[in-house]
């Protein structure tokens, strides 16, 4: 049983409950629509419901963390509230709920090989991008549906005597972010990219 703690003032309750609740609602909506979460996941029904929220009224963050860990749920991040990485699926077994997003090339993007580079032309928006050889590998792997960490791992194997994997991960993250911001890559459903 969880021990009860002191009562929470209304302002603090708003901070602890209302804002995380709105945030969770947004995250769940987005994750359900992209099928990262699916109806039936235990996490969906267990955490943002009234009982879960009442925990925040009655117990401290540390106590909640202990309780979640005792239930076998791994907490990977804390942004106003908790984010759960793994939960048992309705069918049993573990599903990775916090997996990194995957991408695909936007529809109107044409790619053309240059001698030592790759040219990306967005025919819908009229922008061009020239990628160097490393950027070309990142583009090819990203548009095949690999996650950023997987791309960095693959890059580390392909680039002999290159930077450390942590550096490659940062570079990959930066370039993929730039390509997404330029709408050359767009988020895809996991498993939908061939």
């Amino acid at each position: 049983m969880l021990p009860a703690t002191t009562r929470v003032e209304p302002r603090l309750a708003k901070l602890l409950v209302d804002r995380p609740r709105r945030w969770l609602k947004d995250v769940l909506t987005e994750r359900l629509s992209s099928r990262i979460l699916e109806p039936g996941d235990r996490w969906v029904s267990a955490w943002p419901d009234a009982q879960g929220l009442s925990f925040q009224h009655r117990f401290s963050a540390e106590e909640l963390a202990e309780e979640f860990e005792a239930a076998g749920l791994a907490i990977v991040d804390r942004v106003s509230t908790y984010f759960v990485l793994h939960a048992s699926s309705a069918e049993g077994g573990e599903r990775d709920l916090g997996r990194a997003p995957v991408y695909r090339a936007a529809d109107d993007v044409r790619t053309e090989k240059l001698e030592d580079a790759l040219l990306l032309v967005d025919l819908g928006r009229g922008t061009t991008f020239r990628l160097n050889p490393t950027g070309t590998i990142i583009w090819e792997l990203a548009s095949q549906g690999l996650t950023v960490p997987s791309i960095a791992t693959e890059l580390a194997l392909r680039v002999k005597d290159g930077p450390a994997e942590a550096e490659l991960l940062a570079e990959t993250r930066a370039l993929v972010g730039e390509l997404v911001a330029s709408r050359l890559l767009e988020p895809a459903r996991p498993g939908s990219v061939s």
């Binding site: 109107d108 053309e112 240059l114 001698e115 040219l119 032309v121 967005d122 025919l123 061009t128 020239r130």
Partner: protein, 125 residues
Amino acid sequence: MIAGAVIAQLAEVARVVRALPAVERGRRTLGPKPLLAELRERGKKAAARGPEDRARLRRAIGLVDALCPGKRNCYRRALLEIALDAGGANARFVMGFRDGEALLGHAWLAGREEPQDRYDVRIEL
């Protein structure tokens, strides 16, 4: 005879000037794919021109392009020709890119103004 040719040329310049705002607005706000679709719709409603009329149109476009602020612009010229000539609307639009220290690009209508320079990449729409 000469007066007639001058009047025809001036009329062509006036047509180009009328089409210019829509082309410039599109050039600045849309990518080539949606812009070409829009201008081809417009161009298909224009008269199909013979060689002489087409040459007159191209002279008018060249003049207006030269008078626009900034450098002459091949993309603008090709778009104006698509918007004002049914033949231009049906022609393939080509973008050529040449790689170097900087990426150089050129745009033209296939079969009408084939460039002398070679390009590493050609994209036809």
